[in-house]
C-alpha cells in the first residue's frame, strides 16, 4: 500500500507542479462561474433549475477535461522512456495503473470543486439556501461518470506514446460510450434492447442524481465499467513484457 501512495504522490506532484494544470483550472473555474451566474439570472435566481444547467455543463466539462487529465499518464512515460525505470522498480503493474488513475480522479475532483465554492459564496453573501443534498448527489454522479471517462482515458494513454493521440482516443471513447445511451431511441421503449441501451446510458444515470438520489444501480454500473476498463489497462501495460 505504501508504494501505491508513493506513486500517487508522485503523480499528483507532477500535475500540481505544472503551470498548464493551474491555467486550465483557472479557465474552467472562471467559465463555470460565468456560466452559473448567467444560468441563475436566466432562471430567475432559482437555484434548483440552475443546478440542471450546471449539471449539463459539468457533464460536458467532464467529457472534455478527462482526456486532458489522462493523456500523459502512460504516453509521457513511454515517450521519455521512464516507463522502463518505473516498471523495473518493485511495484506491480496494477499498482501503477491504480495510482495513475487515482491521481487523475483526485485532479477531476479539484476541477469539480469550484461549483461547491460558488454555492458556498452564494450562501455566505446572498443568504441563499443551496440544496446541499442535491448538490452532493450531482457531484457524486458526475464523479461516477467522470471516473468512467478517466478509466477510458487511462486505457487510451496506455495504448500510445503520443499524448495528443491519447487525448483524441480518450475523447473518442468518451463520445462513443455516451452515444451508446442515445441508441436506445432506435428501439421501442418496451423492447429488451431499449432497456439495455438505457441501462448503459451514462446520461440517464445522471438524471437520478438531479433529484438528490444516489442510486446504487448507477454506482454499480459505473464501478463495474471502471473496474473492467482498468483491468484491460493493466493487461495492456503487461503486454510489453510478452510482445
Amino acid at each position: 500500500m505504501t508504494r501505491f501512495f508513493v506513486l500517487l504522490r508522485r503523480e499528483l506532484g507532477a500535475t500540481f507542479q505544472s503551470f498548464g494544470f493551474w491555467a486550465l483550472l483557472a479557465l474552467v473555474s472562471g467559465y463555470t462561474a460565468f456560466f452559473y451566474s448567467q444560468s441563475l439570472e436566466a432562471r430567475g435566481f432559482d437555484m434548483d433549475y440552475a443546478l440542471i444547467d450546471i449539471r449539463n455543463w459539468l457533464f460536458i466539462l467532464t467529457m472534455i477535461i478527462t482526456p486532458l487529465l489522462t493523456m500523459r499518464l502512460f504516453a509521457e512515460e513511454k515517450r521519455s522512456g521512464s516507463l522502463e525505470l518505473l516498471m523495473t522498480a518493485p511495484v506491480s503493474d496494477a499498482q501503477v495503473v491504480l495510482a495513475k488513475f487515482g491521481a487523475a480522479a483526485i485532479e477531476l475532483i479539484v476541477f469539480l470543486a469550484p461549483i461547491w465554492v460558488l454555492h458556498a459564496l452564494l450562501a455566505a453573501f446572498f443568504s441563499s439556501t443551496p440544496d446541499w443534498g442535491r448538490l452532493t448527489a450531482v457531484t457524486v454522479g458526475m464523479c461516477g461518470a467522470g471516473f468512467v471517462f478517466l478509466a477510458l482515458g487511462t486505457l487510451a494513454s496506455a495504448l500510445t506514446s503520443i499524448q495528443l493521440w491519447a487525448a483524441l482516443l480518450g475523447a473518442l471513447l468518451n463520445t462513443c460510450l455516451t452515444s451508446l445511451g442515445v441508441l436506445r431511441n432506435l428501439f421501442p421503449t418496451d423492447s429488451a434492447l431499449y432497456r439495455v441501451f438505457a441501462y448503459i446510458s451514462l446520461d440517464l444515470h445522471l438524471r437520478s442524481a438531479l433529484t438528490g438520489i444516489i442510486d446504487l444501480r448507477d454506482v454499480v454500473l459505473q464501478g463495474t465499467l471502471v473496474a473492467l476498463v482498468l483491468f484491460w489497462t493493466v493487461r495492456i501495460v503487461e503486454l510489453r513484457k510478452w510482445k
Binding site: V6, R240, K243
Partner: protein
C-alpha cells in the same frame, strides 16, 4: 541431502510447462541458486514477433564479482538486461536473480536489483534529492531510513553539491550519476548497468568507471558496454553475446589467451642476409610487419604465434644461427579487442 536443480523448461512457457517446472523445483527443494551464483541464465530465448533476439544464451555471475556483457549493437545485451530486470519476459528458458526466477517472482527480483537503463530516463522536473527519495520509497526503503539511504547514494556518486538541482538542468554525465545513485539507493545486492558511460566525455567516463570498480565486492555487478577498455578495467569476467548467442564466457585473461595470439616484436641490426625470408621460414610463426631498416638504424619485425614461448625461442635461434644480431625481443600485450573480434568472428584478425 541437496538435490540438483531440475532442468529448466526448454520449450516456450505454456501453462503445463510453467506448472511442471514450478512443481519440480519445489520437489527438488532447489528453489534458490547456489550461494555463489547471483545471476543464472540458462537456455534463454527471446523472440520479438518473427525475430529471434536471444537464441538460448547461458551464463552466470558469481556473488560479489563484476561481469561485463559485451557485444555489438543489436547483439542482445539490452534485451538480456531488460529480462534480468523484469521489464520484459523471456520467451523460454531460466533466468534467476538472487535466487528468484524473473518470471514467477518478479517482485522479489526487482527488490534485489538496482537497474540503470541505457538512456537514464529520469523525471526532469524533480530535484536530485527529491527524485532519489521518491525512488527509495518506491523500492521499499522505510520512511525512517530514507534520508540516510539518499545521503549515502548521493555521496557515493559524488553529487552532494548538486543534490538540490533540477534533473533537467544537469549535464549528461551528472544524469548518469543520478541514474547510478538511483540504482544504489536501496542497497541492492545486484547491480545491472546498461551502457553506463555511453555519451560521456573521457573524464566523465573515467569517473563512472572508477565508481563501478569501487562497487565490486559490495555488489554483484553486471555491466554492458561495447567500449572494451572500459570493461577491461571494471570487470573480472566477460560474457560476449553475438547475434543472440553467447560467443564466450570467461575471465578476461583467459579470453585474451584463448582468442588472441602471442605477439612479439624483434629489433635486429641491419644484415646482408634476407631477414624477412628467415623469419618466414620459422614454423608456426606469422610475420605481420617487417621493416628492414627503421628507427635508430635497426630493423623491426612484428610476429604472431599461437604457442607463445617456444616460437620466440625458435625465432631467436633462426636469426642467431644465420648470424643476424638481435637487439631485443619484446612482447606485445594481448588486447581484449582482438579477443572480442576473434570470438565473434571465429576467424583471424588482420
Amino acid at each position: 541431502m541437496a538435490h540438483d536443480p531440475p532442468s529448466p523448461p526448454s520449450a516456450p512457457l505454456g501453462f503445463e510447462g510453467v506448472v511442471g517446472y514450478l512443481s519440480s523445483r519445489r520437489r527438488s527443494g532447489a528453489w534458490g541458486l547456489t550461494a555463489r551464483q547471483m545471476i543464472r541464465v540458462q537456455r534463454l530465448f527471446k523472440r520479438f514477433g518473427g525475430f529471434e533476439a536471444l537464441k538460448g544464451i547461458d551464463f552466470h555471475v558469481a556473488a560479489g564479482t563484476s561481469v561485463g556483457l559485451l557485444g555489438e549493437n543489436g547483439a542482445g545485451k539490452t534485451t538480456t538486461m531488460r529480462i534480468l530486470s523484469c521489464f520484459i519476459a523471456p520467451t523460454s528458458g531460466v533466468v534467476e536473480v538472487a535466487g528468484h526466477p524473473v518470471v514467477f517472482e518478479s517482485a522479489a527480483v526487482r527488490e534485489n536489483i538496482g537497474y540503470m537503463p541505457e538512456s537514464v530516463p529520469i523525471y526532469g522536473n524533480m530535484r536530485v534529492e527529491e527524485f532519489l527519495r521518491y525512488r527509495a520509497r518506491l523500492k521499499g526503503v522505510s520512511a525512517k531510513s530514507v534520508r540516510r539511504a539518499v545521503d549515502e547514494a548521493i555521496s557515493k556518486v559524488d553529487l552532494t553539491s548538486r543534490r538540490r538541482s533540477l534533473v533537467q538542468v544537469l549535464s549528461k554525465g551528472l544524469r548518469q550519476r543520478v541514474g547510478l545513485a538511483d540504482a544504489l539507493v536501496h542497497r541492492p545486492p545486484v547491480l545491472i548497468l546498461d551502457e553506463p558511460t555511453s555519451g560521456l566525455d573521457p573524464s566523465q567516463r573515467r569517473e563512472v568507471r572508477e565508481l563501478i570498480r569501487d562497487l565490486r565486492g559490495e555488489h554483484t555487478v553486471l555491466v554492458s558496454s561495447h567500449i572494451l577498455p572500459e570493461i577491461e578495467t571494471t570487470c573480472e569476467r566477460v560474457v560476449i553475446i553475438h547475434r543472440g548467442t553467447v560467443a564466450a564466457s570467461e575471465s578476461i585473461e583467459t579470453l585474451k589467451h584463448r582468442y588472441s595470439e602471442d605477439r612479439f616484436r624483434v629489433a635486429f641490426f641491419p644484415s646482408e642476409i634476407d631477414v624477412e625470408l628467415l623469419l618466414r621460414e620459422v614454423p608456426d610463426v606469422r610475420l605481420e610487419k617487417f621493416e628492414a631498416s627503421g628507427q635508430h638504424g635497426l630493423g623491426h619485425a612484428l610476429l604472431a604465434s599461437p604457442d607463445g614461448g617456444a616460437s620466440r625461442h625458435a625465432v631467436i635461434a633462426q636469426l642467431v644461427s644465420h648470424g643476424v644480431r638481435v637487439h631485443e625481443l619484446t612482447g606485445v600485450e594481448r588486447t581484449l579487442e582482438e579477443a572480442f573480434l576473434k570470438a565473434i568472428q571465429g576467424e583471424d584478425v588482420p
